[in-house]
Amino acid sequence: MTTPAVELVGIGKRFGAVVANDGVDLTLRRGSVHAVMGENGAGKSTLMSILYGLYRPDTGHILRDGRRVEFASPLDAIAERLGMVHQHFKLFDSMTVAENVVLGQEPRRSGRLRRSLLDRAAASARVTELAGRYGLAVDPGARVGTLPAGARQRVEILKALHREAEVLILDEPTAVLTPGEVRSLFAVIRRAADDGATVVLVTHKIHEVLDVSDEVTVLRDGVVTAHVRTADTTAAALVTAMTGRDVVPAQNTGRGEPGEPVLEVEHLAVSDGERTLVGDVSLTVRRGEIVGIAGVSGNGQHDLVATLLGTHRAAAGSIRIAGVDVTDASVRERRALGVAAIPEDRRGEGTAITMSVAENLALGHHRTPPIGASSGRRRGLLSGRAMRARAQELIADFDIRTASEQLPVGSLSGGNAQKLVVARELAHEAPLLIAEQPTQGVDIGAIEAIHRRLIGYRDDGHGVLLVSHEISELLALADRILVMLGGRVVAEFARSDATPENIGAAMSGADQAVRA
């Protein structure tokens, strides 16, 4: 057998009292796709960071083509032809695709004086050539800031390919992608592997693993619990290896009678000054129902919900929450009236990674008992003890894995940070919950737990507006599904009529001609 491209041998890593990796072996064969799975906090990102030279292992070592190597920083890993695509893209928004791709290894112009200048034409040609070779659709001249998540990720992959990476590390690349984007990503991965590249793919989605990988390694509590060829395994076996039990999918069964409306939107329009982001949207969410919004990302869903919460301004139309017109109200007024929101951008908007878990769980609850007080002698004061007590309750209730509520949120694994956001917002018991991609980055067990909570939340008489890339998630939870395309609501389905096919058709606009 040929020497593997990379071997991780006996890798151990601890953070304080937490053992993130414990004697992990991982063998990556040339020309294959190796999936890494495991529950939130199992140690996947830590392992990938060690492989890419971001962390140094406490024990164990790395072999590259059979040679022992040591990575003091990602630069060493890049020199060994490793490339990593992070879940949080590390791109410069104001620069073009081509500039981002070549940054760090730019083609220079010739001539003494002009050698310090970037050769734009060569950069552009290089990007076009790479993009063509791997079937990555991007416009080299576009500004990265204007691109949707899927395109940004392609830029990240191009960047790794430009540096001639032979080993591609992808940490949860699909968490923020729509199904169509996932399909094209997998086509690229397969092509790269067939060309001889080695791909490591971290994901929580079993069907993706079964689709695209050749081998699977499962981690649990920092230890390898399974290593199999994908062809020899089943979804059920993988779930058991990850969780040690079976997971029964939550399903929205039955529904109560929807009560009075908690959200009424009429002819809402949102624009960024140049383009119309949302045009003439009207919708209603009642108590006791979950209304889903489907759509390819970038079709106005995010701008719509940001306007409902009040972080964006409406250009026209009206919004009523619990019967009160809030079109011009501040975020705080709206929250006081009864909105809670799980935002799409967990890092940029949903948490402050340098603040503690307890403080992150307190924002929005800090002016009401028990943490704060809205009236009386203690008005405006804050109780640190109540803050910590409340955090401990939510940590236990939502199974947020952290060594202490005093640690910064940045030390949490991605899925656990997501659980924190969900816990904080559900704890508001607000009549209206806006949930954007509520299960992004969480493991299958936690997905089911969050789904059950959302259904329970509805059964308690609250209204939920659910925005999701996952049609399966919408089908499992929503009582009604609206489809957005180009900033407008183009279709509505009752749950009984909704199928992946007709929702998918409406999302792509394929049914427009028929209905027009």
């Binding site: 151990g12 601890r14 304080g16 009292a17 990102s45 990938m48 960071s49 971001l54 140094r56 292992p57 406490d58 024990t59 164990g60 070592h61 022992r68 040591e70 920083s73 990602p74 990593m84 992070h86 879940q87 949080h88 590390k90 940490d171 949860e172 972080t311 501040s330 975020v331 705080r332 709206r334 929250r335 006081a336 929101a341 935002p343 940029g348 908007e349 949903g350 948490t351 402050a352 990674i353 340098t354 603040m355 403080e359 307190a362 924002l363 929005g364 800090h366 002016r367 704060g372 405006g380 004061l381 804050l382 640190g384 940045g410 030390s411 694994s413 991605g414 899925g415 940070a417 980055g441």
Partner: protein
């Protein structure tokens, strides 16, 4: 290789390393070492020089003066630290200081108030004037998008010039040839502390302000919101924090503290507003450096301010005792700031790489 650095660190050690006081103390130690290297290189005995600094600042005879300077730098450190909590940089300390001082002088000279009230009125008026002035930066930033760091920097010379104008042409002590106000009446003099000559009630006032700052920062909803904005502004906005109002409040509070410091300086010997005398000693930027070194944390401020006070006051003692030019103490202050800046770079790099993924 990998097994070499394998020894897991005990938790106590980790907790100690993570303590917020580590960075400032470390920066100062590094600066002291670099300073020693510079001195050796220029043929000066570092031990004698440092002894000179410490004795110059802390010898029993000088302690009184050092304490009064400590109070003033601490005040100006708070001026910078309050907006720093929400991630804004107030570089207008000088203007706010001067405006507070000149207002206090005007009240002290012209307000027809009885003795006990006059001092209080002068300090309050200084606080209000400087607070209102500093608050202008908040709407400029919220409405017009002019960053606070820019507007404070640009507005500051205007206030300083306004103070100069008043003292030269409107409030001048005609008897002397110097640009200064007449001596304030006895009723407008700050109370003394025992038989100390320099440190007076002003020091107590600044310490009270520090306690209030600490309580607000750690025990109130507003303090929590300030820190949240400082950590992630978008997170705060999403959580319903009124950024505009907090900015206004933080800038007004910072300005008011600067006004108090200005008033304290004018209501202390020689009991005059002298053109340039408030800004010349450089308390404002010593305060900025101390606040940055402490990361704006109220409880660390006294520590970092003490360092800069010792360097500032001790410089003179060093010159006298060790025959080391006092400029060397400025070099030391600069080295502390450079070490601090380096630490920011290192932290930014660590933030980029340390926890890169989920």
């Amino acid at each position: 290789m990998s097994t070499v650095d394998a020894a897991p660190k005990p938790p106590l050690f980790r907790a100690a390393v993570r303590h917020p006081a580590v960075v400032p103390v470390g920066a100062v130690l590094v600066a002291v070492l670099i300073g020693a290297v510079i001195m050796v290189a220029s043929g000066i005995d570092p031990v004698r020089a440092y002894t000179g600094v410490v004795e110059g600042a802390l010898a029993t005879d000088n302690l009184d003066y050092t304490l009064s300077v400590f109070g003033l730098i601490l005040g100006m450190a708070i001026v910078f630290a309050i907006p720093l909590r929400m991630g804004e940089y107030n570089l207008g300390g000088n203007g706010q200081l001067v405006l507070g001082g000149i207002t206090a002088a005007a009240v002290g000279l012209y307000a027809p108030l009885p003795c006990a009230l006059l001092v209080v009125a002068a300090v309050l008026a200084g606080a209000v004037a400087a607070g209102l002035f500093a608050a202008i930066s908040a709407p400029l930033s919220e409405r017009l998008g002019i960053p606070v760091i820019i507007s404070t920097l640009l507005l500051s010379p205007i206030a300083v010039a306004f103070g100069s104008y008043l003292v030269r042409f409107r409030m001048t002590d005609t008897g002397s040839g110097v640009s200064q106000t007449p001596r304030l009446p006895d009723a407008a003099h700050l109370g003394t502390l025992g038989d100390l000559r320099y440190a007076n009630v002003g020091l107590v006032l600044v310490l009270l302000v520090l306690v209030v700052f600490w309580l607000v920062d750690s025990r109130t909803a507003v303090g929590f919101e300030l820190r949240t904005l400082g950590a992630n502004r978008r997170f705060g906005a999403y959580g319903g924090v009124h950024i505009g109002r907090l900015n206004l409040g933080a800038m007004a509070a910072a300005g008011a503290v600067a006004g108090v410091v200005g008033a304290v300086m004018v209501l202390s010997p020689p009991y005059r507003f002298i053109d340039g005398a408030l800004t010349a000693p450089g308390y404002t930027f010593a305060g900025v450096a101390a606040a940055l070194l402490a990361g704006g944390r109220p409880l660390l401020l006294p520590l970092t301010v003490a360092v800069f006070t010792i360097l500032q006051v001790g410089g003179a003692g060093m010159e006298r005792d060790a025959d080391v030019p006092r400029q060397l103490s400025e070099v030391l202050q600069a080295v502390v700031i450079i070490v601090l800046a380096l630490r920011t770079v290192v932290e930014a790099r660590r933030a980029r790489t340390g926890r890169a993924t989920t």
